[in-house]
């Protein structure tokens, strides 16, 4: 079964469509990255899948069910770590579980397990402003994964981190996603990251009226050694190919749009 199926989706803010007639399928358990010129509508697409925006036309199915509003099957990781500033790390991680009305004892146990998994057990009673960027990211991940979603949507989750933390987090995110058997859709503007983490890279065309232009298969099996993958000649060829297609898309946009 497909975890995600998008058919002829059109989404617009006001009159001009951001996405038009966009279709995409993601098989269950696979890791797909979405790349495209900035401003082409990647965030819009993710927000629509998450049920935060309603489409003008077309359908979205998650695990066979039509999307109309936020779904418990979806975990959404934003670029900014939107942790509640007035809640401790543990309370933040517990949020999704509490919204589902789970018994307190189960919530406490699950929160502790997740804090241990992401290495934040010692910071359970800290407030978000007391954490580093990487720690907030891990807290966010625990918060999103604790209620056991089936598909993880990520909108440039590593964009604000420095290179070292990012490399470590990428590898760990991939491990967690594989361990949990999650389907993942990652939006990124880092082509290397897209290739090294995913099975498929989907390239979006330049907006407005963006759609999926092409899908590239990444031929490396899991579990992956990210370093080895980056050294592989196939990786280089793939990167070059996606890059040239992307540049073609970018050049179709005005310079102003690119700067934006």
């Amino acid at each position: 079964m497909n975890a995600l199926e998008i058919r002829n989706l059109t989404v617009s803010y006001g009159n001009s469509p951001v996405l038009e007639d966009l279709s995409l399928e993601i098989p269950e358990g696979s890791f797909v990255s979405l790349v495209g010129p900035s401003g082409c509508g990647k965030s819009t697409l993710l927000r629509t899948i998450a049920g935060l925006l309603s489409p003008m036309e077309g359908e979205i199915y998650l695990f066979g069910r039509a999307v109309n509003g936020p779904s418990p099957d979806v975990g959404f990781l934003f670029q900014e770590d939107a942790l509640l500033p007035w809640r401790t790390v543990a309370e933040n991680v517990a949020l999704g579980l509490r919204f589902r009305g789970l018994p307190n004892e189960y919530v406490a146990r699950t929160v502790e397990e997740w804090l241990r998994r992401v290495g934040l057990l010692a910071f359970r009673d800290s407030y978000p402003h007391e954490l580093s960027g990487g720690m907030k990211k891990r807290a966010s991940l625990a918060q999103v994964l604790a209620p056991r979603p089936r598909i993880l949507l990520m909108d440039e989750p590593f964009a604000s981190l420095d290179a070292i933390v990012r490399n470590i987090l990428e590898a760990d995110f991939l491990n967690l996603v594989r361990e949990e058997g999650l389907t993942a859709l990652l939006v990124t503007h880092d082509l290397e990251e897209a290739i090294v983490l995913s099975e498929q890279v989907a390239l979006m065309s330049a907006g407005p009226s963006a759609r999926i232009r092409r899908i590239y298969k990444v031929p490396f099996p899991y579990p992956r050694d990210l370093v080895q993958v980056k050294g592989d000649p196939t990786f280089g060829r793939l990167l070059q190919q996606i890059w040239s297609d992307l540049q073609e898309e970018v050049s179709r946009m005005g310079w102003e749009v690119v700067r934006h």
């Binding site: 935060l52 509640l84 809640r87 919204f99 503007h189 370093v227 990167l239 970018v250």
Partner: protein, 325 residues
Amino acid sequence: MRRALALVFFLLVWEGASRMGWVNPLFAPPPTRIATVLFELLASAQTWAHFWTTMLEALGGLVIGVVAGSLLGLAASVVRPVADLLEPAMALLNAIPRIVLAPLFVIWFGIGIASKIALSFLLVAVVIFFAVYSGIREVDPRLVDRILTLGGRRMDLVREVYLPSLAAAWLFGGLKVATGFAFTGAVVGEFVASSRGLGYLLSFAQSTYNASLTMALIVLVVSVVLGIFSGFERLERRVFRWKPALRQKQTTGLRDLLARKRQRTIPAMAARISGRSQPGPEKPAWAWILKIAERPTIRRSEFPQVPLPRLSNHEVPRCTCQGWP
């Protein structure tokens, strides 16, 4: 402590100046004289009747004003037409010095406490309205998305996002200002027309050119307001433990910064002079970070401005989820 000493010094100078006749004791009576008057005031049952009248007016206006201002602010931020109706009216009320309405209120509500409560109420409600209205409208939309995607419902949104934002707006934006306004409203209302209250005593003291009584009354009013403020501050510290600014307050002084800088640089300079490196563990746990930092950094492709990135095959430390560095 330093401020208390400064105050004591100031009072001593004033006392001396007044006693030596450098300033006219009729205008600026010595602090000891004011203190004596204040104690006499506090000892008399009559004063307390006036005191509680003013307290009743101010706190009554404050409570009703906070409740009404909050409800209106809430309504305006939830129901669009209410906002269209209220915002211009409130903006107008905010722009004018509302205190000029005092005589009108006396005509409407008489010289009893009702007119003073009305004045306090009006002063307070407008401030609180704007604090709540903008507090709710400026709620971080990302937090709303966060709650919704985690499966939160409308009630969860209210409890987890709107109420905490509202509390912040209340306590930081409005409550202290509103308290000041509530007492302003009560006392000024009593100036205009009344037969009771601290404002009435003040206008009596003024009409008899009794400077020491006037100052004693001012001290009394100011200490009440400051007492209420300190209560709010204690509440703030309790409620806003999550706020970064409140916690770091003590460490941001210039003197602290200088002290810390000195601490850091002196051992470093000593080490440089003696030609020895600073003492430390033989192989620090974080040595691997340095090892990575020494190598050329891994190029990241940030399109579209950056040209095609060179391929990288540098070693990245593998790390399981257990062993975050």
